[in-house]
């Protein structure tokens, strides 16, 4: 990183990458459903949510690229960084799994994004606030869909119930990482650039636990709690995801189509 970048700019840069990487990895996983959805309409829905997520990633990468004096473009940031440079929480890179797993994962992230972007709308960084307002309109709609699907699966056939309960058991302990804050982020919170993550966490837990309860799903009692994404420590899955997503721009540098 260029030395002229001030500490707070560096913190903002890393944070924008956190936002962008989270949206991009989620968008890529959703895009994998193309042609594999349970039926045509859902196939289309999953990939449309993917498009929105990739659009959000693009906004945040562009802002990050505009901050750096090292002439990296938004595409460079998306396609020419390795797994250890990615800042997303592990939950967004997890394989797509079955439809119940994807749906519940999506629900957790949509609910998180609802409170995150609601808070970011008030950022004193105007560009970030504007992007958050745009993303929020879309996220609200995503949440409406994933929330309804969780209910639909949980309260339907025995097989569907088993699958979504299994998804909850597998995913629950990946959710605390969404709310992790490092020293740089704390600086941004103090400077009112980003919202208070404790508040997001409280709102999220209230909303999610109420819904899971209404859906007669049981929270698992214990499990391995995921952590590491903020520091660039990821699961093995991210490497494979990037290998597929980044292949073309790496194999044919500068290619356009």
């Amino acid at each position: 990183m260029n030395q002229t970048v001030t500490v707070s700019e560096q913190a903002l840069y890393q944070y924008l990458l956190r936002l962008a990487d989270s949206s991009l990895t989620m968008g890529q996983r959703l895009a994998e459903w193309c042609g594999h959805g349970p039926y045509l309409e859902e196939d289309v829905a999953l990939t449309n949510v993917s498009l929105d997520a990739i659009g959000h990633a693009q906004m945040f990468y562009q802002q990050a690229a505009a901050l750096t004096s090292n002439e990296k473009s938004a595409d460079d940031l998306a396609f020419l960084r390795d797994a250890h440079e990615y800042r997303n929480p592990i939950i967004t890179e997890l394989p797509r799994g079955d439809f119940a797993y994807t749906t519940l994962k999506q629900y957790f992230i949509d609910a998180f994004n609802l409170y995150l972007f609601t808070g970011l709308q008030n950022s004193n960084n105007e560009t970030l606030a504007l992007s958050a307002r745009k993303a929020l309109m879309e996220v609200k709609y995503h949440l409406k869909r994933s929330e309804a699907w969780v209910e639909r699966l949980a309260l339907s056939t025995e097989t569907a119930q088993l699958k979504i309960q299994k998804a909850l058991d597998d995913l629950w302990f990946y959710t605390p990482e969404l709310f992790e804050v490092d020293e740089d982020m704390q600086g941004l919170i103090n400077a009112a650039v980003i919202p208070d993550y404790d508040e997001i966490k409280q709102n999220w837990r209230q909303l999610v636990e109420k819904h899971l309860n209404a859906c007669e799903l049981k929270l698992p009692e214990s499990g391995w709690v995921a952590t590491g994404g903020l520091a660039g420590e990821h699961s093995e899955h991210l490497g494979y995801l990037l290998a597929e997503m980044q292949f073309l721009p790496r194999a044919y540098p500068g290619c356009e189509w």
Binding site: E41, A45, V49, M59, L130, M137
Partner: protein
């Protein structure tokens, strides 16, 4: 050839741009959809500002080249199409003309203020049901009319 040596004025350019249609709903112009946000002549170039509907709208690239092609057909080639992010697009930006064109094309326009039910664009029945939150594009949902049984796209409310 530049804008100045054709002695073009804004009105002519606006007229050309008014004919540029949305690539996914070819009966409604980018102006009536609210995507076209401004036209200026800066020096020798025409600067056209557009905003995206949804963040991930894949049609933005097609719209940019459609604008350039439309102007090029009138020998205006010094054109810069800028994709801006302010203002944020909402369905309130769709004009009345645009809503009518949508309806006639078979797409139910976004719910208007005070309107509660989504009407079938074929038979006007209010007995309709959502089949999927997303239709053929990110900006539409898929509905079905329970009276005439036709499926139809509903242009989602986005504000």
């Amino acid at each position: 050839m530049t804008a100045s040596d054709k002695q073009l004025n804004l009105a002519t350019i606006e007229k050309i741009l008014a004919a540029v249609k949305d690539p996914e709903i070819p009966v409604i112009s980018i102006r009536d959809l609210g995507i076209l946000q401004g036209v200026e002549i800066t020096g020798d170039a025409v600067v056209v500002k557009i905003i995206p509907t949804y963040s991930g709208c894949p049609a933005m690239y097609a719209i940019q080249s459609d604008i350039k092609n439309a102007l090029a057909a009138h020998h205006i080639t010094a054109v810069k199409v800028m994709l801006v992010d302010d203002p944020i697009w909402t369905t309130d930006m769709i004009s009345k003309k645009g809503r009518a064109a949508m309806q006639a094309y078979g797409i139910a326009p976004p719910l208007d203020v005070g309107q509660k039910t989504i009407k079938c664009p074929q038979c006007q029945s209010e007995n309709t049901q959502c089949i999927s939150e997303f239709g053929s594009t990110a900006c539409k949902a898929l509905y079905r009319c329970e009276d005439c049984l036709e499926p139809f796209d509903y242009f989602k409310c986005h504000a």
